[in-house]
């Protein structure tokens, strides 16, 4: 089994972010006990027992020159050289980590080598700490807990508010050339999304789509309906009219193409941007038109970021 069973390249994003964000210096033990090359193995054995650690770094000033581990002590007891000095029996061929490395390095080191601890050096090659797999797992547990708490809180908020809206269907009747009330339906939709805590840039897209569709009904149709349907993930807006139909749907989808009269244009409408605008702000878009009427359906995903993660 791996020492730390976390995959360092295809774990969930939250975990990957954590193991790259946390640095070795954030998790290592810094108040460690050290010995010198002249300390006897007997003394080291007593330190190991007293400090409840399984390996002791041997230093010369701030420089690391070796490690004496519990295994080395057992060997010494077995072979009878326990009274001899560290310098003659310590492990000199050391694998070290740097304090600025992300802990993903440490995790793969524990996986690759059979050591239970690694000395940590700073950029001046001075010994600044020791790291064990236990240091990593306990810090990770704390951090993972914090992340999950945050995720749950975010999820809860989004679901609560969307759940509250979910299943709501609002139908607005739109009359031909009723400029007086034009924009009412769109304003209502905008308010509904705002009170559900939807992100401003999503609300803006919904407002653009609903307003353009609403104005199309006012300007071009013989009257119709704007229907807003809410699901937890999506707002679907349907604009339905009873005629006269669009003669050339493909042209109507082209920016700048318009059949609006001079009067309509003088009001600032009929620029031929309506349907292209709706399509560009929507996540889903469909249009169907016959002489009996036109139906446009567009949808906007309410929590796009959540879907990605």
């Amino acid at each position: 089994m791996q020492e730390i069973p976390i995959n360092t390249y295809n774990s969930p994003n939250v975990i990957l972010e954590l193991i790259y964000r946390l640095k070795i210096k954030d998790v290592m033990t810094t108040n460690m006990v050290t010995a010198t090359k002249d300390t006897t193995l007997r003394e080291i054995q007593q330190i190991l027992r007293k400090e409840r650690v399984t390996g002791l770094p041997i230093v010369l000033g701030k420089r690391l020159i070796g490690i004496v581990s519990m295994d080395d002590i057992i060997q010494a007891l077995d072979k009878g050289y326990i009274e001899e000095k560290a310098q003659d029996h310590m492990t000199r061929n050391l694998i070290v980590l740097e304090d600025d490395m992300p802990i993903s390095f440490a995790i793969s080191y524990f996986d690759r080598f059979s050591f239970h601890r690694f000395p940590v050096l700073n950029k001046y090659k001075e010994l600044v700490g020791m790291i064990t797999s236990r240091d990593i797992t306990s810090t990770l547990l704390v951090e993972i807990n914090r992340e999950i708490e945050e995720l749950e809180r975010r999820n809860q908020n989004a679901t609560n508010l969307s759940a509250e809206m979910s299943g709501e269907i609002h139908t607005y009747s739109i009359l031909k050339h009723d400029f007086e009330n034009a924009g009412y339906a769109s304003t209502e939709i905008k308010k509904r999304l705002k009170s559900a805590g939807i992100a401003p840039q999503i609300i803006r897209r919904a407002a653009i789509a609903s307003y353009e569709l609403e104005m199309n009904l006012v300007v071009h149709s013989d009257g119709g309906e704007l229907i807003a349907e809410y699901t937890p993930q999506m707002l679907q807006i349907t604009a339905k009219d009873s005629g006269p139909g669009i003669s050339d749907v493909e042209a109507a989808m082209t920016a700048g193409w318009s059949t609006a009269s001079e009067w309509i244009r003088s009001l600032g409408f009929g620029a031929g941007m309506g349907l292209p605008n709706v399509k560009s702000v929507s996540d889903g878009f469909a249009i169907e038109s016959t002489l009996n009427g036109t139906t446009v359906v567009c949808s906007i995903i309410l929590h796009p970021n959540q879907e990605e993660t």
């Binding site: 400029f179 007086e180 034009a182 924009g183 009412y184 769109s186 304003t187 905008k190 401003p200 803006r204 407002a207 653009i208 307003y211 353009e212 104005m215 009001l267 600032g268 409408f269 620029a271 941007m273 309506g274 605008n277 560009s280 702000v281």
Partner: protein, 116 residues
């Protein structure tokens, strides 16, 4: 700048009652409401000649806090009422859209932004 800073610009006259003193961060000039709807930044002032009620609906949806109606066009009463309801300030001016935009750009400190 804020709405009350707009009110101090030369030749700008209140057409509505004073509104809340919104912070204005940006501006947009245009008469095509679809274009304004799609492109105007929020927390902005709109420079236009479209003096009718539908402009208020667009402004409200796009997050525009103030309108400057140019070329001395008069503001109909139903537009003023709608603006009052939506807390949107309307100013009128004799200026063209270009002249009004220049004054606002200066007040926003944006005149130099294309110089590098």
């Amino acid at each position: 700048m804020t709405i009350s800073d707009l009110a101090t610009l030369e030749g700008f006259k209140w057409a509505t009652e004073k509104t809340q003193d919104w912070e204005i961060q940006d501006a947009y000039t245009g008469d095509l409401l679809s274009d304004v709807m799609g492109n105007a930044p929020s927390d902005s002032v709109l420079v236009t000649i479209q003096a009718h009620k539908n402009t208020i609906a667009v402004a409200s949806l796009a997050g525009i806090h103030a309108l400057v109606i140019c070329n001395n066009r008069s503001v109909p009463d139903d537009m003023k009422e709608a603006a009052q309801e939506e807390e949107i300030a309307i100013f009128t001016t004799k200026d063209t859209q270009f002249q009004a935009s220049c004054k606002i750009a200066k007040a926003l400190g944006r005149l130099d932004e294309n110089r590098n």
